[in-house]
């Protein structure tokens, strides 16, 4: 078995306001025998400034890739935005000589050089390709049989598909498969692969929240008891913004939103406290009771 050792790229959104994701992820990684090395240095992956200046994004991403190369490790991320950005820029710099030369001229000024010796991936991809479903299955101690949930992969786990390239962007299956390992049933619902709206909330809040709201409707209509996310930004929209959407549109969802590591963690036998359930905005007690009842 290959060694499961990665450089953890935490990104900005998780330490800023989604610590529950990090806490639960570290728990399940340890249980799976995944060793995480902390970044020795860091800057934002670059994605947030791509709409403003593509070249700045490229440089910021490249610097992180260089840090991984210096450590001789591949990057693992929890955020889909960091994953897509680091993968995309890595691919571009490896394929395009001219671009690589230009970016390396900048990097040289900060004593770095992009060589193209590291990879970057979201942990869901690593679970599929490096860890393997069998190994995850072996860690399940308390299967969540009877539980019905839905998944939200998030755009950047799937698209651009030529960059992500390990799942079907029109009918994503990897996260679903990983959810089913826990014993829970993962339901289909309308427009599963659609956007949560996060990236435009500061530009047009109403449009952004309507995107989130529509997804919440579809998930509820399918009969899911919880929504499972694998991105801090998507999680903020569905969990933190949910009560706001309820007030704005005068309706009730009361749909608990869990990070996938929290769901898997429960099935591994961790307690809700160990998985930072107390940090969720939408009260998860009904789903915890449903699990207890099964």
């Amino acid at each position: 078995m290959s060694e499961l050792r990665y450089l953890l790229f935490l990104g900005c959104t998780i330490p800023y306001r989604v610590t529950s994701y990090e806490i639960s992820a570290r728990k399940i990684f340890a249980k799976l025998g995944i060793e995480l090395v902390e970044m020795p240095d860091f800057n934002c992956c670059g994605l947030p400034v791509d709409p403003a200046d593509h070249e700045v994004m490229l440089a910021l991403a490249a610097r992180n890739l260089c840090l991984a190369e210096q450590q001789g490790l591949n990057i693992i991320t929890l955020c889909t935005g960091c994953a897509t950005t680091l993968r995309k820029v890595n691919r571009m710099l490896k394929q395009e000589k001219e671009l690589k030369t230009r970016i390396n001229e900048y990097l040289k000024e900060v004593d770095m050089e992009f060589k193209g010796t590291a990879e970057a991936q979201h942990f869901i991809q690593a679970f599929k390709e490096d860890v393997g479903f069998d190994r995850i299955k072996e860690t399940i101690q308390e299967p969540l049989v009877g539980l019905k949930v839905a998944e939200h992969c998030g755009c950047h786990l799937l698209r651009p598909s030529k960059v992500m390239a390990y799942d079907d962007p029109e009918d994503p299956a990897v996260l679903k498969g990983l959810i089913q390992l826990t014993g829970a049933k993962c339901l289909d619902y309308a427009d599963e692969a659609e956007c949560c709206g996060y990236t435009i909330i500061a530009i047009d809040e109403k449009v952004a929240l309507q995107l989130t709201r529509e997804k919440l409707h579809h998930v509820k209509a399918a009969g899911a008891q919880a929504l499972i996310t694998v991105c801090p930004s998507c999680h903020l929209m569905f969990d933190m913004q949910q009560s706001r959407i309820e007030r704005m549109f005068n309706e009730r969802f009361e749909l608990p939103v869990l990070h996938y590591p929290q769901l898997l963690g429960l099935a591994m036998g961790f307690t809700p406290d160990e998985l930072a359930f107390n940090e969720l905005r939408v009260n998860p007690s009904r789903i915890l009771e449903a699990i207890k009842a099964t």
Partner: protein
């Protein structure tokens, strides 16, 4: 004046800038603008277009092809792309739709049209390495719950890099008074 009449008024030879499409095509991923044949798959796949009255990726690409430079670059709807990349994935012509839209936003910023949020995000990265200003007490809280300290960015290096690639124009503290 109705919306249609207004659009027609804009499509006048004197209002068009025929060089605009070349300006777009010169930028990375912008070259695919020329192969858009206006089928509308992007707009019909666009999550934002369903809820916004004005944001239509197909229309923006057509306006760019026609050379409606000022209209495109000053349009507030340019900023409503969520970068979900569904349009790019589904385009039958392999137009990098989302990336062409990013090129247009980059050009708008070069003209000085920077939405506050992007100046803020860029400035945060310049000042802290992170896109958000993470409160100091967060570090203490991390320790309490057993999390390792956050990675410390080498700010001198990060800032030097941002300046080298021409990112200074995004930074609030560097704005000309």
């Amino acid at each position: 004046m109705g919306e249609k009449t207004e659009a027609l008024r804009d499509v006048q030879p004197t209002r068009l800038d025929p060089s605009f499409k070349y300006e777009v095509m010169k930028e990375r991923d912008g070259e695919t603008l020329k192969i858009c044949f206006q089928c509308g798959t992007c707009t019909s796949s666009c999550p934002t277009a369903r809820f916004s009255d004005s944001y239509r990726p197909r229309t923006i690409l057509r306006m760019a092809q026609l050379g409606l430079r000022r209209k495109v670059l000053s349009s507030p709807t340019l900023w409503l792309c969520t970068a979900c990349f569904t349009c790019t994935d589904r385009c039958p012509q392999d137009v990098e739709v989302a990336s062409v839209l990013r090129v247009l936003r980059n050009l708008a910023i070069r003209e000085g049209q920077i939405p506050r949020i992007y100046a803020e995000l860029a400035s945060n990265i310049y000042e802290t390495g992170y896109a958000y200003k993470i409160p100091e007490q967060r570090e203490r809280k991390r320790q309490e719950v057993g999390l390792p300290p956050l990675p410390k960015p080498s700010l001198d290096k990060v800032d030097r890099l941002i300046e080298l690639v021409g990112g200074s124009k995004l930074i609030k503290s560097k704005e000309p008074e």
